[in-house]
């Protein structure tokens, strides 16, 4: 598992450039452009199970969901940040991508430190020290558990 660490105010244009928003919609189209203007090596380096650490206001800007969809598709296990923009938070939950708000863990992380994530216990361990993060509200947990909002909606439609 690798950890990628970025700073504050990482906006949606850095995560997925606006110029592709109307030509790339599927996971396969999105993957090669993930974080293109922020970290040109990310798309080729990222592997399933990797974690992203970031500062405040991660995902601010546009409502585009390609970053959340793409990061989920390449298997990013979680994004741990000091804070997330509201629309990005919603979009990620709707994709089933786990976001963790935990400033202490972000500050504690130095390159090469060991990181362990326990989503059931709600803890993240960085360089041997554990930090708790709050559980999602029930409404969001139900969406995450179903594997994203579309699967959740399909289930609800079938039950109707």
């Amino acid at each position: 598992m690798k950890v990628f660490k970025y700073g504050d105010d990482i906006n949606t244009d850095m995560l997925f450039p606006g110029k592709y928003t109307y030509t790339c919609s599927t996971a396969e189209e999105i993957k090669p452009h993930l974080l293109e203007d922020l970290d040109a090596d990310f798309a080729s380096a990222v592997q399933a199970g990797d974690i992203i650490f970031a500062g405040n206001n991660f995902g601010c800007g546009s409502s585009r969901e390609q970053p959340a969809l793409g990061l989920k598709a390449v298997g990013v296990k979680a994004i741990v940040a000091k804070g997330f923009s509201r629309i990005f938070y919603r979009a990620s939950t709707n994709q089933g991508l786990m976001l963790i708000e935990c400033a202490e863990a972000v500050d504690a992380y130095k390159e090469g430190a060991s990181v362990e994530l326990n989503t059931t216990a709600g803890t993240i361990t960085v360089a041997g020290k554990s930090y708790n993060f709050p559980k999602l509200p029930d409404e969001m947990m139900a969406i995450m558990d179903a594997g994203g909002l579309l699967k959740y909606t399909k289930k609800k439609l079938e039950e109707r």
């Binding site: 105010d9 906006n11 949606t12 244009d13 850095m14 450039p17 606006g18 110029k19 928003t21 109307y22 030509t23 919609s25 203007d37 405040n56 206001n57 601010c60 800007g61 546009s62 409502s63 585009r64 969901e65 959340a68 969809l69 804070g83 997330f84 923009s85 509201r86 629309i87 919603r90 979009a91 709707n94 994709q95 509200p137 409404e139 994203g148 909002l149 579309l150 959740y152 909606t153 399909k154 609800k156 439609l157």
Partner: protein, 421 residues
Amino acid sequence: MGMTFAQKILAHKSGQDTVKVGQIVTIKPDYLLTHDNTAAIVGKIGDELDKYGVVRTDLNIIVLDHVIPAASEKNAAGHKKIRAFVKEHKIEHFFDIGEGICHQVVYEKGFARPGRIIVGSDSHTCSYGAVGTFSTGIDRTESAALILMGETWLKVPPTIKITLKGRLAKGVSAKDIILRIIGDISADGATYQAVEFHGDIHNLSMDDRFTIANMGIEMGAKIAVFPVDNTTKAFFDEYNIPFNADDVVWADADAEYIRELEYDLSTLEPVIAAPHTVDNVKPVNELEGIPLDQILLGTCTNGRLSDFEIAASIIKGKKIHPGTRMLILPASRHIMREAMKKGYIDALVEAGAVMLPPGCGPCLGAHQGAMAPGEKTLSTANRNFKGRMGCKDAETYLSSPATVAASALHGVITDPRKEII
């Protein structure tokens, strides 16, 4: 204890007497706005649409505006797919290319009204707070689920109260107010929060309020909302939009706020958001003289009639500096026609400006007005992120239409007060 605007409207729409901050409510929005991204949205739910159909034919407002006319075969295929969806599912509110930018269309056509809730798969959906609507951005997947189900959840946000006192000085615009606020409270200063504007709101025109509400998302806000007054009513009259005073929702006098800010408008000065974040706000005179390769007047933030009026009043009879190029982009067909009738467009085009169709154009960097590495644009848009205008090695500065117009004459960033007599 009284309730804020957000509490009141969310309580009402979820069928409760009161709601608390942090509570999650289920609501059925009045409308769902989508644009060129409708193709991708309906693409996610093809099977379900075949099986269940849309939940309401009057839920969607679809406006083709982002890449119009289509810049590539792929865009054209997207537009085609959207037109087919509209036809097949008898979508009632569809606006094809050339009508305008989605937010301006929603506003002009009377979808945004006091007491309504509108969600949209576009972050600047927060714009309709200008007329007392609760409106906020969502992602494409959620839009897809809404098309099928018609309902979603919202968390009741805490609210920041911003009181605007007095009047702006000459050469200072609504854009300068909102940039100043964002500079002060930062790009995430209002994340997960609502923003209510109070004070001498009667001193602000509808265009001013729309510019301010439009940029609420640039401080992270869920909504940015103004009270409804005679200016709002005059706007509804002008556009033949029915108005019912009973629909108006506003905060109680004893509502509880998490933060209160006050601005004396008479002390504000023209400002600019320098690259690459909207909260990197500096007084224009600190940046004067920076050479500009491109100037953009327009977008959903500042492409309205009064924006063209001020730009034309500064530029009329003069020439745009040969070292720069100016693009003009009215926010809607209606505005374009009005600006033509009033001679604003003619004045700008005669001075050397290039007119683009009413749509998003260069704002999102998908087509038109792309920049080359090393170039600088001064724009009236709402975002200056790295790469936003199509090139990560270019720079975007944001300002008011007056600043843009003054700068167009000199080819460098210029204080508009020098050109306004």
